[in-house]
């Protein structure tokens, strides 16, 4: 929304900037973009080099470009299976994460109820947990519930890391939605839930987009839980499967980079889909949280 305002003002403002300032502005942004994109670009370039080309000590941008690494990853490993697992886990985490954080965020935004403050603190403190140390207790807990090596177990674990931030941010977002809309809904005879579902949610797409993106990335990129909880390689996610290419005594950088590209690409696609909403969603959330 503020994007459009800025766009409207564009023509007027641009003309007021001197040529020198423009050059400096673009130079700074180009430099920053290079730093941001270079490692990723190099990853892509390495992935299309022959399997052992990473050992070169000189800079070669292209070196017999080949898709051999991709072919090997896609056909010689269980990559497709891991990809499916990752997509499943990430999708479940996203859907459940968004649903849970939106409803909690709405409740703490609109109602003052006993436990409100405790919930706000809980959401904050949960983000402080040193996950690395909690793995064994959570493992034992999931084992007791029979959820080890099961996708639901992993999804639940991811929800504990994704939901607190998302709920916090959603609360902030809902705070920016005028409360008059709720009142109008109530006057029209909608229940609290009806108001939330039919009026508020459709107005909150940017916030929901951020929550979705955050949940997706959390589940997509997580390694520690997935490594510990998934004990059969038919249940590995991409992040775990990838560990097979680079270890202490082995460096298949060619294969690693190819699979990294294959992992990063879907994340980037999701990102592109929601990025228009990210700025507005994140702001509102962060501003008012």
């Amino acid at each position: 929304m503020s994007v459009t305002t800025a766009r409207g003002a564009r023509a007027a403002t641009r003309s007021t900037r001197s040529r020198g300032a423009s050059v400096a502005l673009h130079a700074a942004l180009v430099a920053a973009s290079l730093v941001a994109a270079f490692p990723v670009a190099w990853l892509v370039l390495t992935s299309i080099k022959p399997r052992d080309a990473w050992q070169s000590t000189t800079i070669q941008i292209f070196d017999n470009p080949t898709l051999a690494n991709y072919v090997q990853v896609l056909t010689q490993t269980a990559f497709p299976r891991w990809l499916f697992n990752s997509l499943l886990v990430a999708a479940l985490t996203t859907v459940l994460g968004v649903a849970m954080s939106a409803s909690t965020g709405y409740a703490v935004s609109r109602f003052r109820f006993p436990g409100f403050r405790s919930i706000m603190w809980m959401l904050l403190i949960t983000q402080m947990f040193p996950v690395a140390i909690l793995i064994v207790p959570i493992y034992n807990l999931l084992a007791g519930l029979g959820l080890i090596n099961q996708f639901p177990g992993l999804v639940i674990a991811y929800l504990t890391s994704a939901v607190p931030f998302c709920a916090w941010m959603m609360k902030g977002y809902f705070d920016t939605v005028p409360v008059e809309i709720d009142e109008a809904g109530r006057v029209d005879g909608l229940t609290h839930f009806g108001t939330f579902w039919r009026l508020i949610l459709p107005l909150s797409k940017p916030g929901l987009a951020v929550a979705a993106f955050y949940s997706f990335i959390t589940a997509w990129a997580e390694v520690a839980y997935a490594t510990a909880f998934m004990t059969g390689d038919d249940k590995y996610t991409l992040a775990v499967g990838l560990g097979q290419f680079v270890g202490q005594h082995k460096a298949e950088w060619g294969l690693l980079t190819a699979s990294s590209v294959l992992i990063a690409a879907p994340a980037a696609v999701v990102f592109l889909l929601v990025q228009r909403h990210l700025v507005t969603g994140l702001t509102a959330g962060a501003t008012k949280a």
Partner: protein
């Protein structure tokens, strides 16, 4: 902002007001009035309590004992091992706090956190200011600049380890190409620390930039126009309009950034593994190693976890209190 409250009866009654006596009638009335809110929060609360609350409670209990993998009772097939651990009070905590390692790790963790968050914020704000101008290619820049966030952290950590490799890394290859000697990025204690900070900054700037960009766009244009009319210099406008306008966003992202950086496990663990010689190890990675090396020390690792959590909670409380005094927090 707490003014936006639908439930009229509860408006103006902060949650603290629940000190009112919780007798049976009170409970019934509270249930009738608040069940909506409770129901909407229930899934989150239940999952959190089970998956975080239970391990936390158990961790606190274990941290007061001398339980290890060897002394914890268990039955595995034909092997039955009885529990032999005992309550030892605060011994685990005193052992950690008085160890030389704790202070040096804490020192570096603080340096790491402050450096990372300051650079995240500084660079993020700089880029957000640049991007907040109308110009050509704006969305392309924004997309490129946010790229590090879209790549999974562990992938980024691997890329950087490769880029910074002393022999085969591109960074040194470029240095050599322009006539400098390569730097042992990951093999020298100082450079290893600098490298992990650089990697974490690279990873964290996009989030900061986007949040601050949003914050900038939320500042009403009229304020700037009025200031310009009054003849305020660009610096004065930045100092007196932009910065105050960003305060609410800043306070939140700085708090979250601090928490995340303090606990940033993957970057250190995957890029330097804490090396060389343990020099880049922060509290969480150190605690992790203590917990998982050899025969696992459950009580010791629980004490580490509780200690780290306590440090963060204290920090958050102090920070929140400072903000609340400024009238900005819940």
């Amino acid at each position: 902002m707490t003014a936006q409250v639908v439930d009229g009866t509860a408006a103006g009654t902060p949650a603290r007001g629940r000190a009112r006596d919780p007798m049976r009638g009170g409970v019934g009335r509270a249930l009738a009035r608040h069940w909506y809110a409770w129901a909407m929060c229930a899934p989150v609360v239940i999952v959190t309590l089970v998956l975080v609350g239970y391990p936390l409670a158990r961790g606190i209990y274990l941290s007061l004992t001398d339980a290890t993998e060897a002394t914890m009772g268990r039955t595995i097939g034909m092997n039955v091992i009885p529990s032999t651990y005992e309550f030892v009070g605060l011994a685990n905590y005193t052992a950690i706090v008085t160890s030389a390692e704790f202070l040096s790790r804490l020192g570096w963790t603080v340096v790491w956190t402050v450096a990372c968050v300051a650079l995240h914020y500084g660079i993020g704000l700089g880029l957000a200011l640049l991007l907040n101008r109308p110009m050509r290619l704006r969305s392309l820049y924004r997309m490129l600049l946010v790229l590090p966030w879209a790549v999974p952290v562990f992938v980024s950590a691997f890329i950087w380890r490769y880029l910074l490799n002393g022999e085969f890394g591109v960074v040194n290859a470029m240095l050599r190409a322009v006539g400098f000697a390569g730097i042992s990025w990951l093999d020298d204690p100082f450079w290893a620390k600098a490298s992990v900070i650089a990697v974490n900054v690279w990873l964290g700037v996009p989030f900061m930039m986007l949040a601050l960009l949003g914050g900038l766009q939320a500042i009403p244009r009229e304020l700037y126009e009025a200031a310009e009319v009054d003849g305020a210099s660009p610096w004065q406008r930045f100092r007196h309009i932009t910065l105050p306008g960003l305060r609410p966003v800043s306070s939140t992202v700085v708090l979250l950034g601090t928490i995340w950086t303090f606990n940033q496990f993957p970057v250190i663990f995957l890029v330097t593994k804490g090396g060389p010689g343990g020099s880049s190890e922060i509290l969480v990675t150190y605690a992790y190693r203590q917990a998982f090396e050899g025969i696992r020390n459950y009580s010791g690792s629980a004490a580490w976890g509780v200690l780290i959590l306590a440090l963060l909670v204290v920090m958050a409380v102090v920070y929140r209190r400072a903000l609340r005094r400024a009238g900005e927090a819940w």
